[in-house]
Structures are given as C-alpha cells and as structure tokens.
Assembly symmetry: C2
C-alpha cells in the first residue's frame, strides 16, 4: 500500500498539541556544552479523550514510569489525553521512583484539569539516579503554556539521549472516504533490543478505532517492526510504545476486522517500520544501517529469528564496519539461530545502492569478486538477503554496524 | 579440592607426545610478518588407545572437521589415539570440506600406522575458504618425526588464531592411591559463545576411566565452564572439546559413580575452569577479565542464566572498559535474563583486588563512593557478585570488556 508521507510527526494527527523545553534535569556528572541545554522534557495533549493501546518492556526491571503508566491505563479503561516524557534520567531502580512518576502525572493533570489516570508518563536516560522533581515542577506550567499544534519537533528533540537526529514519521490514509493521519516519534539509540515491546515510542492518530482493535494492531505490528530491531542486544528497562487514537478525523469508527482495519494496520506498519529504520541507522556509534531480509521461511517466526540473529552478531556488525564481505560470519549467525530450517539450502546475497552479489549458495561459499563486494559494502545502507529456500514467509530485521564510537560512547556514558 | 598444578599441558598426562610446526597454510589475504610463520598445525598422539569423549558445537553450520570427528568416534566406539588440528582456515562451508578433513585423518593414520577412525581432526580460522591440502600433506611426516613427550607448547601455539597467549593448564590428582594427571590446551579468542559445546579444546588424562563416565563427566563440566563463557555472543561453527583417557597412570579403572569419579570430575573442572578463565582474559581486544558470580539462586540453571546475561551485555562490557560503575546496566541485564527470580531482592556488589563495594540492594540503587568504585574497576580482573537472595545455588560466568581493539580486530579480520 502506498501512503502519502506527511509532515508533523505526532502533530500530523488532528487535535494533538505538543511542546518541549529545557527544564534543567542534569546528567549525574557534567553534561557537555552540546547537551547541556537541549530539550529534556516534553508533553503532548489531545483535544479529546483517546482510546489508547500500549506495549511495555519484558525486562524484569521495569522503570517506575512504565509501572505508573500501566496502572493509569488500567484505571482509566485505556483512555488517555496527555503524555509527559523526559530524557537524561530513566527514573528506574530508585526507591522513590513510583512517587516521582506519579507526581509528574499529577502535576500535569492539575495544570490541564484532567484526571491523572489519563496521563501517560515516560522517562529515559541513566538508570539508578534520583530524578530531580523541582525542575519538572517548574517546567510543567511552561510546557502547558507553550502547547501548539506544530511543536512536534520541540517534543521529538526532548526525548533524544545519545540520538544524533530526531526521529519522526507520519502518513495520511483513507478510511471510508475520510482522510486520516497517523504519526509518531521515537527515541534511540543504545540499550536497544526490544522484546515484545520497544524503545520509547509515541504514536498518535486521528482515526476513530475501538480500543480492542487498537491494541491488536499495535501488538501485531510491534512484532514485525520494533521487535525486529537490535542495536546492541540489550533490552531496556524503560521500553514503551503508546498509541493514542482521538477519532477527530471523524471517520466511521473501525470496530471489526476487514478492509478498513487492514488499511489502518498498513499505515501503522508504515510509520513504525520507518521509525525502526531511523532508530537502526542512528544506533550508537553507527556508520551503516543493516537490513537483513529473510525469505523462503516456513513461517514468520522462523524468518524473524534468522533475520534477528544476523543483525545481532557482533562479529558480523564489526565486519560491516570494516566493509569486509566476511559472509562466513553471516552463515555462522544463521546457523546458531534457534529455528527450524535446512542450513544446506541457504543462499546469501549482499546488496546496496551499488549493486548486488551472491556470496553463498546451498550453505556453501561461492567465488565472487572481492572488489565488487567492497564496492557494495562501501554504501551506508546494506541489505543482507537470506533465502532459506523452504516456503514463502519473509521478515526484515534492522540493525547497525559495531564501531569504535559505540565503545567510546558506552565506555563513558554516565560520567 | 586442592590440586597440584602441573606443567606440560596436554603432555602432563603420561604417554602423550605432541608436536607443532609451521606448514604454510595461508590466510586468504596477506598475513602480517608476526603471524606469517607462526605454527599452524599440530598433532598429539597417545602411546595406547584412549577412551574418548567429545562435545560439539550446536551451530547448524558445522565445520567439516566436526562432522568427520563425530563419524570417526562413532565408528571406533569412542576410541582414539591421535589428534590433528590446524589454524588459519576453519575448513567450513567448503564444497570439498569433508574430503579434506578425511584426507587429514588418512594421511596421519597412514604415517602412524593406526586406523583412520582413531584420529580426531579439528580446524580453526576463516570460514568458507578452500583448505590447501598440499602443505598439510608435506607437514604430516615432519610432525610425526618431531613427536616428543614435551612438545606441548609447540602444539598449543599451533591452534592460536587471534589469541595473544597460549592456553594450557594441567593438574595432578590421586585415584586409589595412584597419581593421575589431566591437562588441556584451548584456543580463543573471538566467535566465542559456547552452546552445549565450546571453542576448540583438547584434554588428555592418563587416568583409567570408562568411556561412559568420561562422556558424563565432560558433558557435566562443560555446562558449568565453557558454556558459561562469552566473548562476543557468537557461537562458532567449529566448537569442540575432546577428552582422551589412555589409562597409563595404571589406577584401578573408574567404572561407577562414587568418590573416585567425584575426584576425577573435580580435576576436570579445575582444568576446564582455568582454561575458560584464560580464554575470557584473552578475548579479542580485551583489557579486563570479567567474572560474574550469581549466588542465592533457586537452581543451577537460574544462576547460570543470570550470570551469562551479565557477561553478554555489550553495554555493560563497554562500561567496564571505561571503568565506569554503571550498575544500572548490570541490573538491566539481570532483568532481561530469561529466568525465574524476584528482581526486588537482587543485590549487586563490585569486587577486584582493590576492594569490594555494594552498588545495589533489593533491586534499588544505593549511595556509594564513585572514587572507591573507580579504584576497584581499575584492576584488570573484575568480579560482579549478584545475590538473588532466593535459595542456595550459585554459578560463575566469564567474559571480558568490549574495546576499540575488538572492533579493530573484527572490522578487518579476513583481509
């Protein structure tokens, strides 16, 4: 399905205002001059109450904001109006974490005059550092005052941590002859190996759709987008995707399976897959995006497992950084994927804007031009095509190369 | 149990001769002057036929030598006399791999005048490059001629790839009043994340013990040593441990469970755990050894799963390289371990020769001196102590830090 790409990120959907500011949350040691005054907190608010779906990290360590958001949505019957999110501090593993996350909801609810259970709260940054509530308290009235239908960028930049670029994507689609919109923003760029959830992602839509179908669509699309992404194999404690639908496009509400629901899911896939791609490309220290596409699998899970195994291999990721067509490492990673297929039927091709080359056929190396392979790998977006030659299922996983800068960033993140 | 540490590696066991030479197997592109003439092939031979146990990689891609060794031991009823192993080329994913691996066995068997099914063959190095058989053919008579009861070092250096030091360990122990010996050599140092098997390891003993108990001991000890090791999360295609027992110590053969079998297993653990530690410390690019010790687990598997999760975390490994006490990353990795425990009861301490410090209590951060933590992390061997505060099982996992040099080595390994 082809969608019209739309500007505006989370504000592409009708009736969503946003704002983002620097309120003064500090990193534990010294910020650099570049990061010192970057936006560190944002809110966004719908003009009307939204049906809401969410998925959360499967890490046993769950950030306090995750626990509070989950409880809020349970209490409100999956309704929400507003989101508050900060960077620089994850508010996780702190004795007073729940108290602080609840305070964030209460303060914003009071300022907006809405029930506190209709607030979603999220935090990202260093784990295990006490969250200072004072700058947030002072910041909230300012955030509310600055709310605007086109301040999506202010919000998207406020959730960046080691991200080097903001991540937003939005599309327009039609339901029942009515134009609808769906847009999102996401945060990278390390501790990313989503497991039944994802890194911090916020999606809005003005499409009218029931709560149940909203959750069904989100869970289904998460599985084939964010959950097929790995930067470094580390599943974060604060992963969350929320999806808010305020119905302001005024289409006939989607309440059952069928063509309209399929269109909605396609639009959701379009936004989430593009955000996933952006997250991979801006992985910590990354110089290259890696897309691994498995085809010919006997089922979807097999295709996903094999594709993820390749993008998670440190050895392969380092080889891609070095632009070395070391396909043995690809086959090695395919081989240790916990999935059911015949390794002796596996073909591997390498592809980029510079061309395509076969490097392995029926699980065995074939002769190829190293020169041509190097040229292909010199591009900044590399595709690895794996054909299991079994049946017809396929899947894509996204990742990035492993570089000196990844080590540099993470050798000294806190201090 | 305290064992007398013994010199001699695989030759510490009575009746084992070894040799190692440079025969001229080339890396696909140009070797460096340092690696050009390093030993690349070795053999070792027992004076009498050995009961033999082995475990192999669980990777679906299995090196040709693995397949040939497995078949040989099946045919011979788990008897072996000799081992031949080369580095620089893994003989894996090649159309003629089986043929070449069989030729290695045949050539050596002929030269030694033994059945070819009693030869174990192993290869390590680049995957998917045709193995040149000519230099091996020329090398074998020379290897046989040079066999000696104290050429263990010549053999141990011949299996090194990116290893910076050779790995050997041996102990003396007593069975039934008779002095026995058990010694081994191992090869690192990348693509190491053993799964029900391990990297290339060869162990010899002069202790008399039945084939069944030999295999039982090996499988049990592999689980708590090599399988608790991770350098980079990549399970190799050529993993193998072989354990040969020639009975030349002349003890009464161990044929049943009991005190003697327990002593044998302790000696085996001593050798395998020390080799595992050496492998971790010499991990590709590593500057620090990381030991993660989980205690208070409800069962052994839980303890192992949690400890392995921590040593596998790229983020944590990079933090250790940076000597940054970022315990949030430890707790994060504990949290995504697929095991059953209460995260709110978890304590974390950091320890080295410079002291010990508590950083997390009941799943929550506690105040600690960053200065003291930095001092502890400045050592080159770091222990992470994780207490699940549940029941009494414990386990150790071994790994190393993630460094610029890991990326450098693996960005350009083939060429």
């Amino acid at each position: 399905m082809n969608f019209k790409v739309f500007d505006g990120g989370i504000c592409a959907s009708k009736g969503f205002k946003a704002s983002g500011i620097y309120c003064g949350i500090k990193r534990p040691a010294n910020d650099t001059p570049e990061t010192k005054h970057k936006n560190d907190i944002c809110i966004f608010v719908s003009d009307t109450v939204c049906n809401t779906a969410a998925v959360y990290t499967q890490n046993k360590v769950k950030g306090a904001p995750i626990l509070v958001t989950k409880k809020n949505l349970e209490k409100s019957g999956n309704k929400s109006i507003a989101v508050i999110a900060n960077s620089k501090n994850a508010n996780t593993c702190n004795a007073d974490g729940i108290e602080k996350a609840e305070a964030m909801c209460e303060l914003l609810a009071k300022e907006l005059n809405i029930p506190k259970e209709q607030v979603i709260v999220a935090s990202t940054g260093v784990i295990g550092q006490i969250l200072p509530i004072e700058p947030i308290k002072t910041g909230i009235p300012k955030l509310v005052k600055e709310l605007d239908y086109n301040k999506n960028i202010e919000a998207a930049t406020a959730i960046m941590t080691t991200d080097t670029v903001k991540k937003e994507y939005a599309v327009e689609f039609e339901i029942d002859g009515v134009k609808c919109h769906l847009g999102g923003m996401a945060k990278g760029s390390g501790m990313i190996h989503p497991n039944m959830a994802t890194t911090l992602n916020f999606i809005t839509t003005d499409c009218a759709i029931s709560s149940n179908l909203l959750q069904e669509a989100l869970s289904e699309i998460v599985k084939i987008t964010y959950n097929c992404l790995s930067i470094d194999g580390d599943t974060s404690t604060n992963d969350m995707v929320s999806l808010m639908a305020n119905g302001m496009a005024d289409n006939k509400e989607i309440t059952s399976h069928g063509a309209d629901f399929d269109t909605f899911k396609s639009a959701l896939y379009e936004v989430m897959a593009n955000l996933t791609r952006m997250l991979a490309k801006d992985g910590e220290g990354a110089t290259k995006l890696i897309e691994c596409i498995t085809s010919g699998a006997k089922d979807k899970d097999t295709a996903i497992t094999v594709a993820k195994s390749v993008v998670c291999s440190s050895l392969f990721k380092a080889a891609i950084f070095g632009e070395d067509a070391n396909w043995g490492r690809i086959l090695c990673a395919v081989g240790y994927a916990q999935a059911d297929f015949d390794i002796n039927k596996v073909d591997v091709d390498l592809k980029s804007k510079n061309g395509i080359i076969s490097v392995c056929k029926n699980g065995t190396g074939i002769e190829f031009s190293e020169e041509k392979a190097s040229e292909i790998l010199s591009a900044d977006e590399i595709s690895v095509l794996i054909n299991l030659n079994d049946r017809n299922e396929s899947a894509t996983a996204w990742g990035c190369d492993l570089t000196y800068d990844y080590v540099k960033i993470n050798g000294d993140y806190r201090t």
